[in-house]
């Protein structure tokens, strides 16, 4: 008998693919999830050892059981007859039929359905983690610090909208792709940042979001190997992930990039990320994720913080600013500029009216400004900026960190 852990591992690895295929075959996400769940229950009872293709076994079993049930029920319900007819017309598990002859992985259809712009971003995230990631509602709720009922409701509503509003289950055409890829990449990035920004002590559940995001980014890269921004996103996440072991100190506190023990960086992940950055930038179609990945690759090239090639990072921020001209990018560029050209040049950028005006309520703007003022010896102004930053900080650990900086000024 195969133990429950082994079935659990198959579930995590194959759930996304199985639900995606069954959704195409049965024409309904709820029915697909139910059928896959059903098949895993059968697997727990029957598997003496793992079949050669566990995912294929699950798909075949799920489909057969769903159709058997409909056949029994179709004597009573016309809608089951219709569903059965449609399911059979859609072909077998091995015969995805696509307009235009393209053969797409069902998971790619699922990505674009879950990340359809007609769904709210938080619903896109929850659906993607549930259907493609195979996480259950309780796990997702814990990771996002939400009541389980709230998250369950969000998923139910999103699935109802997919069905009732007729959100199609298909891969966007080449012409639609630019507008549709953005939300899909944003979902994966959001999952990563939710895990990455988890405060120490939030526990493992949130950190697992980082691993899940990397897994999803790998999946997107496997499904769309020719999209430079997809590779850029994967590279960015791998490079951020490579530094994660060094982000936490022995006391569980946050360690910022300049103070990290670079020996604790994951060299293999960093090397993979750097190789991807080089590969996608060679295609000559830079996008925001690729450039952010390139910035992180420069950091990861430096054996110690002092060896960082800041002028190169400033040049990359110049490029990022032309792609995404936002005040937040301008602020990040100023931080790099402080290292390349000194704090006075950086402060001039931070205080530029378009940046200062837009970011007056943005806590990081006050922190950056305070730190530049400290370096310029303008202690009084620095203290005022720190005090404003503390007021704008919701996170207790971070507030304490800022209060210590403020106290150190002797003001």
């Amino acid at each position: 008998m195969v133990d429950a852990d082994a079935v659990g591992r198959v579930f995590r690895a194959e759930h996304g693919r199985c639900v995606a295929t069954l959704t195409r075959l049965l024409g309904d996400i709820d029915l697909a999830e139910e059928a896959v769940q059903d098949a895993f229950t059968v697997a727990c009872e029957r598997w003496q050892e793992l079949p050669p293709n566990p995912g294929g076994w699950i798909v075949t079993t799920a489909r057969r059981r769903a159709l058997d049930r409909w056949r029994r029920e179709s004597t009573r319900h016309a809608r089951h007859v219709e569903a059965l007819r449609l399911a059979e017309a859609r072909g077998g598990p091995d015969g995805p039929r696509e307009e235009g002859g393209a053969v797409h992985d069902d998971r790619l259809r699922m990505v674009f359905t879950c990340c359809h712009p007609a769904l709210a971003p938080e619903a896109q995230v929850a659906l993607t983690l549930k259907l493609l990631g195979g996480l259950d509602t309780a796990e997702i709720a814990r990771a996002f610090l939400l009541p389980e009922a709230t998250l369950a409701q969000r998923i139910v509503r999103a699935k109802r909208k997919i069905r009732d509003a007729g959100i199609p289950y298909r891969v966007p055409t080449e012409a639609e792709l630019p507008g549709r890829l953005g939300p899909a990449l944003a979902v994966v990035y959001l999952v990563y940042t939710a895990g990455h920004s988890a405060a120490a002590g939030d526990g493992l559940h949130r950190v697992e979001l980082c691993a899940e995001a990397v897994r999803l980014a790998r999946l997107l890269a496997e499904l769309m190997p020719d999209e430079p921004e997809v590779l850029g996103l994967l590279a960015l996440l791998l490079l951020l992930e490579s530094r994660r072991p060094a982000r936490t100190g022995p006391d569980g506190g946050l360690v910022l990039l300049p103070d990290q023990d670079r020996g604790r960086w994951d060299a293999a992940l960093a090397a993979e990320g750097r190789a991807l950055v080089r590969a996608c930038l060679r295609r000559g179609a830079p996008g925001p994720y690729q450039v952010q990945a390139a910035i992180n690759a420069v950091h990861s090239d430096a054996a110690e913080a002092a060896a960082t090639d800041w002028p190169q990072i400033v040049r990359l921020y110049d490029l990022l600013l032309t792609l995404t001209p936002t005040p937040v990018v301008a602020l990040n560029r100023a931080v790099a500029l402080a290292e390349a050209d000194g704090p006075a040049a950086a402060l001039a950028e931070v205080d530029r009216s378009d940046v200062a005006g837009a970011l007056a309520g943005y806590q990081p703007w006050w922190v950056v400004r305070a730190e530049l003022l400290v370096r310029l010896g303008r202690t009084g102004e620095a203290a005022a900026a720190y005090r404003r930053a503390v007021e704008l900080t919701g996170n207790a650990v971070e507030r304490e960190h800022l209060a210590r900086r403020l106290a150190a000024l002797g003001g």
Binding site: R79, H116, A118, D164, A165, G166, I167, P168, E176
Partner: protein, 119 residues
């Protein structure tokens, strides 16, 4: 084929009054859009409404009918007109709505009609 309500929204109980040449352009664009809808077979029905200040609300409770000056929705956003269109899925309906929004120079809300066969 599913059917969708494409409603056009604006702010205020009265319509904004853009310059005459803007209005004329809008009428021409909406007219062309309606013709295009009919030619493509997506058209089911369409209408422009008098402003929300002309609306009246009737309520019936326990046989008691009350009539009040409308509109019912207390929001500043009001519906100015609508199309009912046929489309194979939401993406197709959204593509139609995008052309409608450009023609009438206002936001268009896309909402699915319940299928007659739905139980």
């Amino acid at each position: 084929m599913k059917q969708y309500l494409l409603s056009v929204w604006h702010d205020g109980a009265e319509y904004p009054t853009p310059p005459a040449e803007v209005m004329e352009q809008m009428f021409r664009d909406v007219d062309a859009f309606n013709k295009e809808l009919e030619a493509s077979g997506a058209y089911v029905f369409a209408a422009g409404l008098h402003p929300a200040s002309t609306a009246t609300v009737v309520q019936s409770s326990g046989g008691q009918v009350t009539t009040t000056d409308g509109p019912y929705a207390e929001s500043k956003e009001q519906m100015g007109g609508f199309w009912i269109v046929k489309a194979p899925d939401l993406d197709a309906a959204l593509a139609i709505a995008a052309r409608g929004a450009a023609a009438c120079q206002g936001p268009v809300e896309v909402r699915p009609l319940q299928d007659e066969s739905e139980d």
